[in-house]
């Protein structure tokens, strides 16, 4: 977004309200006013817990959900008027794969290409390339029923690329996958990014956001809490390192006071109390740990690590993401 060209996606004051289920006549505000821009080739993330409004935002971006208020321009067009044209240039990876399980892997791609009116010969060529990209060549003739979760996810991503989209929308792309399958998927998404595809993704995984996103917004209760690159956000809201201390539960209260006394007074240090552990935010974790042990405290476990987006989220919202 630094080169001054028109953004691929431009949202101003974006609001989405639904009729409230529990109160007749009431409204539920899923998205409460978002401003953001995404430039060509960027990987942009929406990070936040369940119910933060990420999926509602994605649906608006996918032109299948008219905004209640605000303006939205995608590829320079207005979804309310040109939804069809915009969708023709989007790739969508929904939270649930929604593949046709009775059809084969290749047939799923052919059918999707048909929705875009792409000539069959062209879709066949692209399908062959996409199956290679998704590492599913050997499964091309198998029914989707027989595929693992990770394979299905890769097929869903391959499917979303059939129309060679300008923008790819991924709603929680790796939720529910085992660690190995997640890493394979990240690798594929990283390749897409290098090919210049603009990626928009939602996630509640910190590591995913750090791996894939050039820039992200932290969302909470339908609003943007802050925006920046993962590095920027960490620098702005956290310290370089974190010391995690666990004490025996009956000792935690007492220990908390002492830890505060030892570390809180020092330059740039801060203590957060979680139900099961203490987090000491500090420029130098080892030094903080040395100070804690020098004060005669004996934590059950002590871990020094680098700050992550998880810490940013905790700082911005006062809540842990994994609650």
């Amino acid at each position: 977004m630094d080169d001054g060209e028109t953004p691929l996606i431009d949202a101003k004051g974006l609001v989405k309200e639904y009729p409230a289920r529990d109160r007749p006549g009431g409204v539920f505000r899923a998205v409460a006013g978002l401003d953001f821009q995404v430039g060509r080739g960027e990987a942009f993330g929406f990070l936040g817990p369940n119910g933060a409004g990420k999926s509602s935002t994605m649906r608006m971006l996918g032109c299948v959900s008219p905004p209640t208020a605000g303006t939205l321009r995608i590829l320079g067009m207005d979804p309310a008027r040109d939804g069809r044209l915009i969708r023709a240039r989007l790739g969508v990876v929904p939270q649930e794969d929604a593949l046709d399980v009775e059809l084969t892997v290749r047939e799923n791609l052919l059918m999707y290409g048909n929705y875009f009116g792409i000539p069959r010969r062209v879709v066949k060529e692209r399908a062959a390339r996409l199956l290679e990209f998704a590492q599913l060549e050997e499964k091309a003739g198998d029914r989707v029923e027989a595929l693992s979760g990770g394979m299905r996810r890769r097929l869903t991503i391959a499917r979303s690329l059939v129309n060679e989209p300008d923008v790819l929308l991924l709603d929680e792309p790796t939720t529910g996958l085992d660690p190995q399958a997640r890493h394979v998927l990240w690798d594929r998404l990283f390749r897409l990014k290098q090919q210049g595809v603009t990626l928009l993704l939602t996630t509640h995984y910190m590591d995913e956001a750090e791996q894939l996103c050039d820039r992200l917004v932290v969302m909470d209760k339908g609003l943007i809490a802050d925006e920046g690159s993962p590095r920027e956000l960490i620098e702005r809201h956290s310290t370089r390192e974190v010391l995690e201390l666990r004490f025996r539960l009956d000792e935690q209260d007492q220990a908390t006071g002492k830890v505060r006394a030892v570390t809180g007074a020092r330059e740039g240090e801060r203590v957060e109390v979680l139900p099961d552990r203490l987090m000491v935010y500090t420029p130098d974790g080892e030094a903080a740990l040395a100070a804690v042990t020098a004060a005669g405290l004996a934590p059950v476990t002590a871990l020094v690590r680098r700050s992550t987006l998880e810490d940013v989220f905790l700082r911005l919202t006062g809540r842990s993401l994994t609650d």
Binding site: Y18, V64, P66, L85, P94, A98, L103, Y115, F116
Partner: protein, 251 residues
């Protein structure tokens, strides 16, 4: 655009047609044999103004089978496409608008009802259950009967959140209609108040239209009333579906 949705359904159908044939064609034919040709022998032709029970029952079954196929192909599949296998949600992410998805699916439903009705009518004629060349018109008549149900059902099913609701309506609305619309016996056998009420049932219009065409007793005026009544249901269903599809696919 609607053809894209239609061909998606056809592609799926190529994989599943064998199992659907059992429900949409074989079951009605078994009914035709068991009740029309078997049980029907116990009914004296004098009780039916000289026609055999098979001649009476077969065209009624044709219309009733069209309704049942409409329920399976429309209500169940429309709901499943939105909530279970989510093929509607996938299609909605492409250039297709909700109205394209609706029209394409209804076109496929038209194909399913028509092809099943055609298969049934062919067997009906082969069994000598028809008396008039007008029997060829029973296929479009059965199709119209099916569509009179399919379009309102699609409009409704896209709004239904619980699958159980669909089953309940099938059992408590469709099944009584099946029995009370003159499929198995003439309306004269019903109590007077129920007799009159049955005229309001769209299935009765479908049954009577198919039956009079098959027996050769159809009158132009009577048939037009039936066609208009069924056509109004089909058209009304499309009008409502345009709204409900948009609300539930672009919410």
């Amino acid at each position: 655009m609607l053809l894209r949705e239609f061909s998606a359904w056809m592609l799926r159908y190529r994989r599943t047609w064998r199992s659907t044939i059992v429900v949409s064609v074989a079951n009605p034919l078994l009914f035709l044999l068991a009740i029309g040709a078997g049980l029907g022998r116990l009914v004296a032709p004098e009780a039916l103004d000289g026609m055999t029970y098979l001649e009476f029952f077969a065209p009624g079954m044709l219309a009733a089978a069209a309704m049942q196929n409409a329920y399976i192909e429309s209500a169940f599949r429309v709901n499943g496409a939105l909530r279970r296998d989510r093929s509607y949600v996938v299609a909605a992410a492409t250039p297709l608008e909700p109205r394209d998805i609706m029209a394409g699916h209804l076109l496929f439903i038209t194909f399913r009802i028509a092809s099943s009705a055609l298969a049934f009518a062919v067997v009906m004629v082969a069994f000598g259950a028809s008396r008039s060349p007008m029997v060829v018109l029973t296929v479009p008549a059965a199709l119209l009967t099916g569509l009179a149900f399919a379009t309102p059902l699609a409009a409704w099913a896209v709004t239904v959140e619980k699958f159980g609701t669909l089953n309940a309506v099938f059992r408590f609305v469709l099944m009584p209609m099946y029995l009370l619309s003159g499929t198995f016996f003439t309306l004269d056998s019903l109590p007077a108040w129920l007799h009159t009420a049955a005229y309001a049932l769209p299935l009765w219009h479908g049954v009577d239209l198919c039956r009079t065409l098959s027996l050769g007793t159809a009158t132009l005026a009577g048939s037009l009333v039936h066609v208009a009544y069924l056509g109004a249901f089909a058209a009304g269903g499309v009008a409502v579906a345009l709204v409900t599809y948009r609300r539930h696919l672009h919410y």
